[in-house]
Symmetry: C2
Amino acid sequence: MRATYMYGAGDVRVIDVPDPVIKNPTDALIRVVGSCICGSDLHPYHSMAPSARGSSMGHECVGIVEDLGRDVTTVQKGDLVITPFAWSDGTCDFCREGLQTSCRHGGFWNAGDVAGLQAEAVRVPLADGTLVPVPVEESSPLIPSLLTLSDVYGTGYHAAVKARVTSDTSVTVIGDGAVGLMAVLSARRLGAEQIILMGRHKDRTDLGREFGATEVISERGDEGVAAVRELSAGDGTHVVIEAVGHMPAYQQAIGVVRAGGVISRVGVPQYEDAPIGFGSLFGPNITLTGGPAPARAYIDTLLPGVLDGTVDPGRVFDLEIGLDAVPDGYRAMDAREALKVLVRL
Amino acid sequence: MRATYMYGAGDVRVIDVPDPVIKNPTDALIRVVGSCICGSDLHPYHSMAPSARGSSMGHECVGIVEDLGRDVTTVQKGDLVITPFAWSDGTCDFCREGLQTSCRHGGFWNAGDVAGLQAEAVRVPLADGTLVPVPVEESSPLIPSLLTLSDVYGTGYHAAVKARVTSDTSVTVIGDGAVGLMAVLSARRLGAEQIILMGRHKDRTDLGREFGATEVISERGDEGVAAVRELSAGDGTHVVIEAVGHMPAYQQAIGVVRAGGVISRVGVPQYEDAPIGFGSLFGPNITLTGGPAPARAYIDTLLPGVLDGTVDPGRVFDLEIGLDAVPDGYRAMDAREALKVLVRL
């Protein structure tokens, strides 16, 4: 079958690989209907050291169950399923607490003997804990929105939930990528009435307004901080969702958060050390939270709104390509020509 | 009157200064009955640059109201009052939210024209918002416990509240100073059933056991981390309260916190940059919280237990001195000969 591999910064190829097979009785085999390129895929696209072996890519997918290990009971052949961006047993204490990204027996795609999802098919470990069947045909116009439940919608929602957004909290979202826009949608869903979106791409921030942003700030750095403070009585907002992952975004978050407030990070940090002392977090009693979203945990909550059309998170996809065009998809996202790329198989 | 000033690292003197006077109609004048030396006073005691003018010291006090500005309505001359370690108006949005340390019109002792509380008397700004009258005589044996409400008990409680300690959370407290021990007492009060205290001073950790610690770990660094993990099924605890403020304590906190858990800091950080990236906080979805405690906010909650003898936080004082002996008190605390020093006037 065909699958996507990265061989170094900027070097993405779609190659022939052996078809996946059932290895364990808890596995499922999935024929991929739709996959995505993620903003986080751009981090290795910028920095990966050359590798002769390459790295399997992709962690978002909607597909059809083609085969099942003998112990799998919760999905059937032919089911359309969502695969969250981590696989998990669904039964350990972390899974029961809703932190499937720390599952005691689970893991992430593209690691060990588990391949990535930008491919024609994939072996899914721990299928009972991982997969969510959805009563939808693969020709459904809901496929893009269902795909967002694999990662970006759940990630935006995680940011808002960890920040404890309610109708009483003002919110700033830093970053107008897909996760930032999903954070806007999620904050609105949780009742926030003021949602300031910081982003520079008008087509994206326009979509952010439709998802619930009440104000858009295109300035960055000190000017951006001053603009947000002007919109929040000089104080900053109760919640700041940082959906970028670079240090300037973190510094901006410190600049626009209100004393006693929360910075919630879902952009994968591209730094290790950062300011957290008296002058940044400690003095004003700022809470810092966030991390990789347990997307699986949120599907039950978010799926009904997708199925009944209350929300349409699939609008974040503005480029749809076939599998062999995936290298072009990476280029388009890297050049900011595409907000988020849907790979349709 | 006599008052305590610091003139540089290790240089504390009790000197004659003019008696305080009412300056604003919202002021009160307090005759100090008891004050304290705080662990945080040791930070400048180690590092303060020499100063000819010196710095007024002390931020904890119980006293008797001697005089009042004409606008003060909530306390009367002769009242015994607790003064929290920040002064605040009690009416702004931050105060109403319980974050008096960020009061729009308040501030801290030893700053601007507001003096410190290791003195015979003090002018208290915004007396209505700041002072809490208590129906107790100045000869009462409750004075030490009431003094802890000025800072350390409220600070330990803040750590536990910000970490959302409940009966379902296991807790590690790093640091066997007064704040660490008050964090143990507070975590127990909030229902925690496993409280691991990390500290090396047996007399202090013995008191910690009486306050509710279920286990004591005297090792530090990697050995200390391994010991806590052994007590928590290899996972670390849901909550870690960091009551020291130095970088090794923060690193230890990262080592013993369970995935999805909370690190709550109340030791004043003696660093600005620290690890918060994928390998420390982000990957395992750790929340970092804490800051200077709004002690005023917690007095209403904690006072009844002190008055009825349910708790006896005043046991953290193991040395009682007069005002002129304050320099010796600093030396005793710095040498770890005293856990916490009560200055009795």
